[in-house]
């Protein structure tokens, strides 16, 4: 029989190992892309021939690359905002409230999850062109955002619902008792306590919006987002500019990781010094 301590060590190693393996898993294709982005050959075959940075130059020289990045960022930011706010409200209504027509509300806010997104885009386009001919507008970034909000909000809702579930409302009682109005209770208690869920929901919303192709493609009109840029390029044969794009993507991640580490170190130092002086 294994000793208790060895077993614990084994469990710890397994757990930490699972995270490490997961990170390796996540980054395996990305690392491969990064490696291939420096090839001097146009065709991506092993072994990698030569080294060059030409694809980075080509990527940034593509006239529609930067606009696509900007559009994606704008769409993702705005959609995230809406999806998170609506999803949070929806999650609270799902889990904590009982009201007339709740079944309908639940069905309506959940169903988009089940709707295949490529069809969602086309059917919404159908509807927007009807609306557009009545009200005189064309599809563009605004319709993309609406599409994303419809598509993403249910995801945000589910993620926030995890946090709403089992919420200790005596804390809200305590705040109300201290004289807080409904809004103050929300701002001071409910929101901060739901924050981890809301934050995760926001991140998921952003990622879903950022990476969405089909809904954007159907609703964007002549505007382009990053996935549209990638898709339409790759469909006719890719060159290493797309792996180069994957590398470019990593830069902010690494910067953020470093910033987080610096912040953590600084917080630790501050804490230590404040304890020392008190």
């Amino acid at each position: 029989m294994m000793s208790q301590r060895m077993r614990n060590a084994l469990v710890d190693t397994t757990l930490v190992g699972s995270v490490v393996l997961l990170l390796v898993f996540f980054y395996a294709p990305i690392a491969t892309l990064v490696a291939f982005s420096f090839t001097s050959s146009r065709v991506l075959t092993l072994p990698i021939e030569g080294f060059s940075l030409q694809w980075y130059g080509e990527l940034f020289n593509k006239p529609d690359f930067l606009p696509a990045v900007l559009n994606s960022a704008a769409v993702a930011t705005i959609s995230t905002l809406f999806a998170t706010v609506l999803g949070t409200a929806g999650a609270v209504a799902w889990v904590r409230y009982r009201f007339r027509l709740q079944g309908v509300f639940r069905g309506l806010t959940f169903a988009p999850l089940l709707f295949p997104q490529l069809l969602l885009g086309v059917v919404m386009l159908l509807w927007f062109s009807v609306l557009g001919s009545w009200l005189g507008f064309s599809t563009g970034l605004v319709t993309v955002i609406i599409g994303h909000v419809v598509y993403i909000t249910p995801f945000a809702l589910v993620v926030v619902a995890v946090q709403v579930y089992g919420f200790d409302e005596t804390l809200e009682d305590a705040a109300r008792d201290a004289g807080a109005s409904g809004w103050e209770v929300f701002r001071e208690i409910t929101f901060p306590l739901l924050w981890p869920g809301i934050f995760s929901a926001a991140i998921f919303s952003f990622l879903l919006s950022w990476g969405n192709f089909y809904v954007s493609y159907s609703l964007a009109g002549t505007a382009r987002t990053l996935p549209i840029f990638v898709y339409s390029g790759i469909a006719v044969g890719s060159s290493p500019i797309y792996p180069a794009l994957a590398t470019v993507n990593l830069v902010p991640a690494l910067l953020l990781v470093i910033v987080a580490e610096v912040l953590r170190r600084r917080a630790l130092k501050r804490q230590a010094s404040s304890i020392a002086t008190s």
């Binding site: 065709v43 086309v122 386009l125 927007f128 062109s129 001919s133 002549t222 339409s232």
Partner: protein, 345 residues
């Protein structure tokens, strides 16, 4: 952009990658004081679907595969053009493309102008296979090629060559017996198929490293860019006629004017511009793909390497041994069979 606001007219243009090259668009925008917004198609059917869902209201021009342009006439997305208005352009075309040009006509009315072309047959890597091996589609069904065949998942493209091999001309009206033959040939082909890919990059990579011995349904569109980069051991050929039935297929891209009620003159000007020799040359050689163009005057503008990449010495042989890719009357039945056989695999 600032120019959008300043420009006299703006055009919304749905097209394949390549048509949107700045070197093509910029001069036109400057000379006509117009601004052009691009929506890139990722596959022809998808573009059609998008227009069908109502996007046709917002577009002025479309460049896509010829059968889809041909469909856009009766579907009501494209306005028919008067071939007389484009007499100067037709005059510069190779004779094969001159008006009246049936492949782009519906009930005698033209739906657009051809802009690029090529042929579909087996695409092979001559480092692995001799060209003669592929003078017929037979290896597709040969167990020696098990798991080495790649079909390109571009709608009807991969179905047509296989039907031709089965002795069925898919561009004619088909009866149930003929459809049954198509079903059999698809089923047989799927046995050796390693992958059905929609992504040229994947197909090209497999072809170069030998994991695919042949691409079916891609033709020159899938390979000319590779040849341009020096991989000229990759070739698209057209098999010998079989029992009198031509086994190759000529594909073509065309550009049409979208029927959005504006009847824009500038759109028609662009149509003329895009088939002019200088522009055609640029359209032929792009970063992603290289293709032939119908304008005969452009031929003089190509270098020797470019001609080699485009397999120009082979083009009329291919033409002579090929069917023309148009709207097949029973395409929906064949696609349904394709779906069914795939599901049953």
């Amino acid at each position: 952009s600032r120019r959008d606001a300043a420009a006299a007219e703006s055009l919304n243009y749905m097209c394949w990658e390549g048509y949107n090259a700045p070197s093509i668009l910029e001069p036109f925008q400057k000379s006509k004081d117009a601004s052009i917004s691009i929506d890139l198609i990722t596959d022809s059917a998808g573009g059609f679907a998008k227009l069908a869902a109502g996007a046709s209201r917002d577009f002025d021009l479309v460049s896509s595969d010829s059968p889809w342009i041909q469909r856009m006439g009766p579907a009501g997305f494209c306005r028919y053009i008067d071939e007389a208005d484009f007499a100067d352009q037709f005059a510069e075309f190779y004779p094969q493309f001159r008006a009246p040009f049936a492949p782009l006509a519906f009930e005698g009315k033209a739906t657009g102008l051809p802009t690029r072309w090529g042929w579909v047959g087996p695409t092979v890597n001559t480092k692995f296979d001799k060209l003669e091996t592929w003078s017929s589609y037979a290896p597709v069904f040969d167990s020696a090629y098990k798991d080495k065949i790649c079909l390109l998942d571009w709608g009807d493209w991969p179905i047509m060559p296989l039907a031709l091999y089965a002795g069925i001309n898919p561009y004619e009206e088909l009866d149930d017996a003929a459809l049954e033959e198509v079903r059999k040939v698809l089923r047989a082909a799927f046995k050796n198929t390693r992958a059905i890919v929609a992504d040229l990059a994947v197909a090209q990579k497999g072809l170069i490293d030998g994991s695919f011995r042949a691409l079916i349904g891609g033709g020159t569109y899938a390979t000319s860019a590779l040849r341009m980069k020096g991989h000229d051991y990759i070739q698209s050929i057209v098999p010998e006629p079989k029992n009198g039935l031509k086994q190759g297929i000529i594909w073509m891209e065309a550009t049409g004017l979208i029927d959005n009620g504006k009847n824009s003159q500038i759109a028609a000007d662009f149509l003329k511009y895009i088939v002019s020799p200088d522009v055609a040359k640029q359209l032929a050689i792009t970063e992603a793909t290289c293709n032939l163009v119908p304008n005969s005057k452009a031929e003089a503008l190509f270098s020797e390497e470019e001609k080699n990449a485009l397999q120009m010495d082979y083009m009329w042989t291919a033409w002579d041994n090929s069917q023309f890719h148009t709207v097949a009357p029973n395409i929906d039945d064949m696609l349904a069979i394709w779906q069914e056989e795939l599901a049953a695999r």
